[in-house]
Amino acid sequence: MNKVISFIRLDLYTIKPYRKSLYFYMALGLIMAIAFKSLSILSSFFMVSLVLIMAYPFTISEKNGMETLYSTLSLRRKNVVIGRYGFVLFIETISIIYMSVVAALLSTFFTIDFSMKETLLTLSMLSMVFSFIISLQYPFFFRFGYTKARTLANIPVFVIVLALGILPNLMEKSWIFQSWNTFSQVAEANPILLFFLPLASGMLALTVSCFIACRLYGKRDL
């Protein structure tokens, strides 16, 4: 466990010199939220930014030959993989906390409509989408390296975006849609379930993805 925590620290140090991009995205998100008086813009913007930032450890490590560094450190390969997923969880958690606080502050100072319940539910849903995207991309990065896998790993992202756009229309009359409606009604009556279910789904996806990535990275010739 210590090695995994050490690796999360190493990843944080790895992206440290590039933190200005993160600040840039945060500032841009804030400006857009204020300009459009919409907190959901802020949340969506920030989550998209996070997906981009989550590729940083791979791009930076590839640029600087850091897979050799990992091989010289007192680490097993699975520590590298679990540590990288730990880094994702850490950043995701910090982001949700940050977004909740910023949303509350914005509503106070800029008279933007604010409901903590709605904000948390939005963040929970976005967090699930974010986790799904990372779960689909990371195994590719671990197996082929970032440069080789970049195009391939973006396909699942487009599929998710496309699915979110067209599936509700296609399935309007199907049993899935009706089941979803039933589920929504149950969930609406239970906001705690509605908040934690997407988070749990995201966690499950990340766990399965991490397991697959461990196997793929373990077999890879560096």
């Binding site: 210590n2 090695k3 925590i5 050490s6 620290r9 190493l10 140090y13 790895t14 440290k16 010199p17 590039y18 930076i60 640029k63 600087n64 030959g65 850091m66 897979e67 050799t68 560094l69 091989s71 010289t72 450190l73 007192s74 680490l75 097993r76 390969r77 077999k219 010739d221 560096l222």
Partner: protein
């Protein structure tokens, strides 16, 4: 004499290259030069030791332990210096320490800062601001700061000027003052090894040609020179890197075979450079 590194019958096949039956061992307290031309298999062998590649078969033991089963424990005691630094180029040298120290139980910050000072490296400088020689010294500072018992150097001197190479030799000599330490020094610049290596492992085209003491290697091979037509075709086949020029020939021969050649042929001691060059001259022996 206990072995720090022991590689036995290791094979690794790629599409266009393979390591075949690699076996050698490095005893405690010695420096082994790992020589061969570019692409001979030196880095591949080192990658196998570091578990960057998986061997098809064979065994690798470091400090007497299987390098896969005891990977973490072993790597606590290994320092690696490559021909390029593998740190984020935007890191300062202090960032390098902060990033790496959690991985080593025996990390010594005082020693790291002392070594930076010794090597005239400014802790505030960024990795990308360092010269080639400074980057090499940084990697050595990291390797020595966690008290590594085995240093693995992969082409650390390529691209360095003579002064920086000489400094490296001094650093390695003082490191070896502790008889429990040892070094595997892979290079194609063999002149570096003439001064400090105790053992030589010579790899060519994925096969180990020689692995024993440097002195034995230098004694076992002699340079020979003579006039044209002094050797018959059978004798020419015994010459390694046989080369004819306008007035005669030269080549390398195993000492045990010298008696079978004409007495008028001139023999001279060979150097590591000469041995590598002759082995690489378009095949092993003249045919």
């Amino acid at each position: 004499m206990s072995n720090i590194l022991e590689i036995k019958a290791v094979n690794k096949a790629f599409e266009k290259f393979s390591l075949q039956n690699i076996s050698f061992s490095l005893p405690k307290g010695y420096i082994m030069g790992f020589i061969g031309q570019n692409g001979a298999g030196k880095t591949t062998t080192i990658k196998l030791v570091l578990n960057m590649l998986t061997a098809d078969n064979g065994s690798i033991k470091v400090f007497g332990k299987d390098h896969l089963l005891y990977e973490q424990e072993i790597k606590e005691r290994i320092g690696v210096v490559m021909d390029y630094p593998f740190y984020v180029d935007e890191w300062s040298l202090s960032d390098v320490e902060r990033s790496l120290l959690p991985f080593y139980a025996k990390w010594d910050s005082k020693k790291y800062n002392y070594l930076l000072h010794q090597f005239s490296l400014d802790a505030k400088k960024k990795v990308k601001e360092l010269s080639r020689g400074m980057k090499m010294k940084l990697m050595i500072a990291v390797a020595l700061s966690h008290d590594a018992d085995l240093l693995i150097l992969d082409e650390p001197t390529s691209g360095l000027d003579a002064v920086a190479r000489n400094e490296l030799m001094d650093i390695l000599t003082s490191y070896m003052a502790d008889e429990n330490k040892c070094i595997l020094f892979s290079t194609h610049i063999t002149s570096d090894l003439e001064k400090i290596a105790d053992f030589i492992t010579f790899i060519d085209n994925g096969r180990i040609i020689y692995s024993d003491t440097k002195d034995d290697l230098l004694e076992n091979y002699l340079l020979i020179k003579g006039g044209l037509n002094q050797l018959n075709s059978e004798q020419k086949k015994q010459i390694i890197g046989y080369r004819e020029h306008s007035v005669g020939f030269d080549g390398l021969v195993e000492k045990s075979l010298v008696h079978s050649l004409p007495k008028s042929i001139i023999t001279e001691p060979s150097s590591l450079d000469e041995i590598v060059i002759r082995f690489n001259m378009g095949g092993k022996k003249h045919e």
